[in-house]
Amino acid sequence: MAAIPLVYNLRSLKQRPLSTAATAIGLGLVVAVFIAMMALAEGFQAALTTTGAPDNALILRKGADGEMSSGISREIASSIAASPFIARDAQGQPLVSNEVYVVLSLPRLGVGMANVVARGVSPQAFEVRKGIKIVEGRRPQSGSPEILVGRAIVSRFAHCRVGDKLSFAKREWTVVGHFSADGSSFESEIWGENEQFAPAFDREGGFQSVTFRLANPEAFPAVQKALQDDPRYQVDAYREADFYKRQSAMLATVLRFVAIFITAVMAIGAVFGAINTMYAAVATRGPEIAVLLTLGFKPGSVLLSFMLESLLIALIGGLIGCALALPINGIVTSTTNWSSFSEIAFAFRVTPALLTAGMLFALGMGLIGGFFPARRAARANVIETIRQG
C-alpha cells in the first residue's frame, strides 16, 4: 500500500498553526501532569527502596508490621548480637545496631508541626549502614545528648542547623552534624545514640529493632530460618532492603493510581481536543482527500496519513509535556510515610523511563484522537466531495 508523502501532513499542520499548537499544548499539559505525578511516586519509592542494604538483616518482634510497633528486649538483642551470622569489623566487634525508633512531633520551618523519626543507633550503625556520610559537623559523642539531622529535613524543620538545640523528650539535644544516606529515607530522620534515646523515651527495657551486617549475605534464608524458628527470640527477620521496599509499596501504588486516574480524566479532554482538531482537518480537506482517492491511493493510505498527522501533533504534545515536566526533576517534596506516620522528604524523579512513558502516553492519545477522523477521511464519498467542489 503506497504511502501518502509525509511532507503533505507536515505542511498541512503548518497551514493551521493555531489549532495544531492548541491541541499539542493540551496534550502536552496532560503528559506533564502525568510525568510529574509519576515522578512523585517514583521519587517516593526510590527514597524507600534505597533505604537499607541487601546484605543487612533487620530483626523485629514477631508479627510487628513496622519498627514502630516492634519491641526487642535487651537480652534477645544481646543474644542475637552474639550469633555467628553477624559480620565483624577489623577489631572483631559485631556490626550490629540495636535501635530505638520513636516518632516525634517537631515544629516545621514556617507553620505547623510534623512528625519525624528519631532513631537511636549503636556506634556501629555507621559501619552497618554503608551509605551514611556526615556532610556537615561530626558524629555524636557517646554519652552526650547530641544528635545528627538527616539532610533532607534540615531545611524543613526549625532548629536543625549544626549548633542548634532541639527540645524533645523533656531534654535539649545539640545538633552536631548533618548526614546523607544516598537519598534514602534515613535522610528524613534524626539520629542519636541509642543509649541516650532509650532512657529519654522511656525505652530502657529494650529496642525497637536490631540491624546487623550479614557475615554471609547469601546465607540470609538460613539466618532468617534460624532466628525465626528459635522459640527464645520470637522475632521476624528481613533483608533490610526488602523491608523498606515493602513499606513503600502501598503508598507508591496509591500515588501511581492517583496519577493514572487524574491523568486519565484529563486525557479524555485532551483526546476530544485532538478529535476535534482532526475532524476539522478532515472536513476542510475533503477535496484533497477526494483527489488522493481518485489518483489511486487506497482508503487505508488515507487512514494512515491522517493517523500519522494526529500522531505528529501528539509527538509535539509529548515533547512539550516532557519539557514542562523535566524541571521538576530533583525538586524535594515530602509526604507522610504511612508505615511510620512521619514525614519523609524525597525528590521528584523524572527518569528516562518516565519520559518514554509520557511520550507513549501522548502518542496513545494521538492514536485514539486521530482514529475516528482518519476513518471518516478514508470513507469519504469521492463523488459527493467532487460535486461540491
Binding site: 481518485t294 489518483l295 487506497k298
Partner: protein
C-alpha cells in the same frame, strides 16, 4: 479499436426514498486515440458517466470496459490500482494539494508506482515541461494562476502515462485565454501522445476542439 466499451449502462441514484434515473441502457464505444467532448444540460448525467468511466462510481446495471478490463466488476482495491495506472483525471477546480509544490503534486500518482524517488522527480519535472511549466516546479498552487494550476493538474493526469484522460469541465473555471491554452494542451496530448480523452463541458467552443461531440440529454446519448 475501441478503448472504452459501455454496454446497457444504467445508473439510478437513490435520494431519500426516491429513485432518480440518470440514464438507461446506454451503449457507447470510444476508440483509442479519440478526443470526445460530452455536452448536455446540467443534471443530464455527463459527470456521472465520467465517474463511471473512472471507476469512481458503480453502474446500477450494465458494464464498462476500458482497455479490455471490466472495471464495473472490479473490487474497490482493484479499482484503486487500475485508476493509478490506467486513467488520468482532470477536475474543474484543478484540485491540487495546496501544501505541495507543483512538482510534488505531479509526483503524487507516481508514488503508487515502484519508481525510485529520483525517477519520480525526473518524470514529474518532464511532465511539467510538457505543459510549459518547467520553470514553476517549486511553486505552490497559491503562487500560480488558474490556468497554470490547471496545467499542473494536466501534468499530474498524464505523468503516469495512462491511456485514458477524463476531464470534467477543465475550462469551467478559467478565463478565455487560459481556457484556450488548456484546450490546446489537451489537443496536443491527444495528437502527439495519442491519449484518448473524454471531456465533459458546457462550452460549445471548447467542445469543438475535440474530434467528436456527443450530447447527453434525458438519458439519451446522441452524436
Amino acid at each position: 479499436m475501441a478503448l472504452v466499451e459501455i454496454r446497457n449502462l444504467t445508473k439510478i441514484y437513490h435520494r431519500e426514498a426516491q429513485e432518480v434515473l440518470v440514464f438507461q441502457d446506454l451503449d457507447l464505444d470510444i476508440n483509442e486515440g479519440e478526443f470526445l467532448s460530452l455536452m448536455g444540460p446540467s443534471g443530464s448525467g455527463k459527470s456521472s458517466l465520467l465517474h463511471l468511466l473512472a471507476g469512481l462510481d458503480r453502474p446500477t446495471k450494465g458494464t464498462v470496459a476500458v482497455g479490455g478490463a471490466q472495471i464495473s466488476a472490479m473490487s474497490q482495491r482493484e479499482l484503486s490500482d487500475w485508476r493509478a495506472s490506467k486513467v488520468g483525471f482532470i477536475f474543474q477546480f484543478y484540485n491540487l494539494l495546496p501544501v505541495l509544490t507543483a512538482a510534488q503534486n505531479v509526483e503524487l500518482p507516481l508514488m503508487l508506482t515502484p519508481l525510485s524517488a529520483k525517477d519520480r522527480r525526473d518524470r514529474a519535472r518532464f511532465a511539467l515541461e510538457v505543459v510549459g511549466l518547467g520553470d514553476r516546479t517549486d511553486h505552490f498552487p497559491r503562487q500560480l494562476s488558474g490556468g497554470q494550476e490547471q496545467r499542473v493538474a494536466i501534468a499530474r493526469a498524464v505523468v503516469s502515462d495512462p491511456a485514458l484522460i477524463l476531464a470534467d469541465e477543465p475550462t469551467g473555471d478559467l478565463d478565455a485565454k487560459s481556457a484556450d491554452e488548456v484546450l490546446t494542451l489537451l489537443q496536443r496530448l491527444n495528437s502527439e501522445m495519442g491519449k484518448t480523452i473524454v471531456m465533459v463541458t458546457h462550452d460549445a467552443h471548447a467542445a469543438e476542439r475535440a474530434h467528436a461531440v456527443m450530447h447527453l440529454d434525458k438519458g439519451v446519448l446522441t452524436r
